[in-house]
Structure formats: C-alpha cells, structure tokens
C-alpha cells in the first residue's frame, strides 16, 4: 500500500469525495479537473433538495478537502486519453501532460441536457424560456425576473426536458429534475408569494426520502399547481411572454396559457469525457455513460483491471448517492491496491 497512487479524472463531488477517502488512508491522489475549479455541476447550485441545504457549505467542504497534502489538485486539464501500461494507468492531456498511477478512477460525471435540442420549446430563441440551471443563476442574485426585468406573475416549470424522451435519444429518467422542480417552485413562491407557479409533468417521481413530503408541502403551503401533461410548444407573445400548450391529461382537454417565465428542467446526460474515456477502455454503456461490472456489489469495478467508476459517469444520481458511491469506490480501490 505504501507509495501507491491513484489518478482521479473529474473534480466534481464524486472525484473530491473519493480523493478525500483515499488521501485519508495515506494514498497519493492526483485529482484532475478540466475546468478552472473543483465542484463540477454543484458549482451552479444555490440550495439543495430536499432540505434546502446550502450548496456553498458543500463547496466549502470541498475546498477544505483539497488542502489535504496527499491530494494534488490539477485544474484546467482535460484528459484526452486514459490507458493501462503494465501495472500502471496513464492519463494524458493531449501530448503535453502525462499522469501515472497505480489505479485510475473515472468521476467524469454528467453534463446538463442542451435545451436547444428541444426545438419546439424555443430555448435560445425566446428570452423568457430558461433552464433550471439558469434559474439557479438568477436565484443566486436573489431575484427571479423576466428578461425585461419584470417580476413574474406566472411561472411554469416543465419536467423531463431531455429525459424520458426518445426524440433526443434519452429513454431514461434523470431522477433529480422532478424534485428539483418542486424545490425551485417553492423558492420562487417564497420570493414572489402572490405569483402563480405551475409545474407540468409526465409522472412526478418522488422516490427519495422526504421528496413526497416536499411535493405535498409545495401544494398545500405554496399552492403550486401541478398539471399532468407535457408542454408541446412554446411561443412568444407580443409582449415577449411565453404561450405554452399542453394537454391537461386529467381532464382530457387541450390547454394553453401564457406565462412570464418558462423553466425547462434539463436532464442529466453523460459528459463528453465520460463517453470518450469509457469508449477508449471498452467500458462504454448505454447513452454514453460508463458501464460498471455489475449492479450488485461490483458497481465501482469495470472489466479493466485497476479502472474504477464513481458517480454520475455511470448514470443519473443525486448528490448523497454520489458521495456514497465515491466512498464505496475508495474501498474498492484500496482493496485492489493491496493485491498489486
């Protein structure tokens, strides 16, 4: 175990949490991040579902972890090739940087769905169609406003944008968007109590602990209206509001309404690094995600000796699930390093 090293690709929650566990056990960890700072997608979030914890607390903890002298954090470095060389794993950034370690952990995570691909929803065309990530950015500033700076009187959230949609090639559920819509609807109602919030859904998938309770609270305390029906079309009105059409499937009637802001709950897609590095190592699964050896007890292993997986490079996961998965990957890696 002594002097053994691990290279972790991806400095998001999974990468940092795994680095923390490994470094605390005395291993040398190189944590490589393609952007300029650690944190991954959590950098875009203000509060976390379902308990409204501050994402900043999580980020502060990340910064603390990175102070560990056993962790070498390398930013602005995108790994373009990852391969096994004898008993070592080599990660390369183009041709200028090479990192060598005894084991490699892929924590390359996810990217949010590019909402422009759902053309009928007009993202990137109509100013008042925004994504859930844009909503967070606005929420960070303490104000939710339309492109014209107006406080919305009506807001609509649309679930399953880029998820459960054959048209964009994603049959799967992203798992986090439903509860995130509930969270954002409540945040909106707290900021603008007199406004109306509508949430359009195909199914409300409240599978996590306290999700259903939050959903219930959003109805009872905040009066959020849930409409079972997928918005089929968004168009701008003369005053730059957004006209949306859906079927109110519970009444079996077509419906339309005009809202000041339409928020698209963008789903989780595999990141380009996840897909590319998985492809290189023959661990590419469905939808560009990485494929683990199996779901039951060997979910952090791959068919490659010494290559491990953690977090959303495998599939959509919530933040607590990602942390747990990263820690379990650390256990597997330590087990492996004892054998070589």
């Amino acid at each position: 175990m002594e002097n053994k090293s691990v290279v972790i690709i991806g400095g998001g929650p999974a990468g940092i949490e795994a680095a923390n566990s490994l470094a605390n056990q005395g291993l040398k960890v190189t944590l490589i991040e393609k952007s300029d700072e650690a944190g991954g997608n959590i950098r875009n979030w203000v509060k976390l579902f379902p308990d409204f914890s501050n994402a900043e607390d999580v980020r502060a903890n990340f910064r603390n972890i990175l102070k560990n002298e056993n962790i070498e954090f390398i930013s602005n470095t995108e790994i373009s090739s990852l391969y096994r060389d004898g008993n070592h794993w080599i990660a390369k950034n183009g041709s200028d940087k090479t990192f060598k370690a005894d084991a490699a952990l892929l924590t390359t995570g996810f990217e949010v769905f590019d909402a422009k691909r759902k053309e009928e929803l007009g993202y990137g065309i109509y100013d008042n169609v925004i994504t859930s990530v844009d909503f967070e950015q606005m929420y960070k500033s303490g104000k939710i406003t339309t492109a014209e700076g107006k406080v919305p009187e009506r807001i609509a959230f649309l679930n399953c944008v880029g998820s459960r949609d054959e048209k964009v090639g994603n049959h799967y559920c992203s798992r986090v968007c439903c509860i995130n819509a509930v969270k954002q609807a409540i945040e909106f109602k707290e900021l603008v109590p007199n406004a109306k919030a509508f949430c359009f859904y195909m199914d409300m998938r409240m599978a996590g602990q306290f999700y259903e309770e939050l959903y219930r609270k959003s109805q009872e305390k905040y009066g959020v209206t849930y409409i079972r029906g997928r918005i089929s079309e968004a168009a701008a009105t003369m005053d730059n509001r957004i006209q949306i059409k859906a079927e109110d499937t519970l009444s079996a009637l077509p419906m339309k309404m005009t809202v000041d802001l339409l928020v698209l709950m963008v789903g989780i897609e595999s990141s380009s690094s996840t897909t590319e590095l998985s492809r290189q190592n023959d661990v590419l699964g469905l939808y560009g995600f990485s494929k683990s050896k199996g779901l039951y007890g060997n979910d952090n292993l791959t068919n490659q000796h010494g290559l491990f997986l953690a977090g959303t490079c495998k599939r959509p996961l919530t933040l607590p699930e990602t942390f747990a998965d990263a820690r379990s990957a650390a256990i597997e890696i330590v087990k492996y390093l004892k054998t070589i």
Binding site: E220, L253, P254, M255, K256
Partner: protein, 116 residues
C-alpha cells in the same frame, strides 16, 4: 346572411388566461386539504353514486379547479354525501367537505342546478 352549411367551430381548449382560476382559492380557504389532491381517483372508484350515475367526483373537483363551472351544480346533486370517498383518500383530502363547499361557492356565483 348566407347559409354556409357550417359554422365556425368553437375551441374546446382550456384557456388558463381567461379561465376563472381564482374561485378555487375560495374553496381552498374553506377546505385547505383540497390543495393536496393528486387526482388519483380512489374517491371516484369507491363512490356509490358513480356506480349508477355518471357522477365523477375527481373530475368535478378538477373542473372546479380549472374554472369550468358549467354543469357542475347538477353533478354535485348526484352525490349522496355518504363520505365513503373520504375513507380512501391517500392524501387525507376532506372530499366530503369539498362537495359541500363547492355547492356553496357555486351557488354564490349563481351557478344553480336545474330545478325540476
């Protein structure tokens, strides 16, 4: 005017811009649990009246929510107020109180059932 042999069809769309969505809040004031209704339909499945008439409590409640009040008073007359629906609601919605109070709010808005 000419006889065209047809008339311009009226839209059957629910227009949330013009529908009266506010009157529902008057119902919710009286029965706060109404907000929690998920439209699962357990109430309607167990309804004694539903077996013999077209009365559908879930849909009547939904139409009220959507501000579509025409004909609802007549629908509500089919309810026997037995309270069976309340027993099965997974969200603890006071369905019986909703029926009772929908009648009151409708009556206040001059939606009356057909007098026989």
């Amino acid at each position: 005017m000419k006889n065209w042999g047809f008339k311009i069809s009226q839209p059957r769309i629910l227009d949330f811009d013009t529908a009266d969505l506010e009157s529902y809040s008057r119902l919710v004031e009286k029965v706060p649990s109404a907000h929690r209704c998920l439209m699962c339909g357990a109430c309607t499945a167990t309804c004694s009246a539903n077996v013999h008439t077209e009365f559908n409590f879930r849909n009547t409640h939904l139409m009220f929510r959507r501000g579509q009040f025409d004909g609802l008073a007549d629908e509500l007359d089919k309810c026997m107020l037995c309270g069976k629906c309340k027993l099965v609601c997974p969200r603890g919605v006071n369905t019986r109180a909703i029926i009772y109070n929908m009648r009151i709010v409708l009556s206040d808005m001059n939606y009356k059932s057909i007098e026989l």
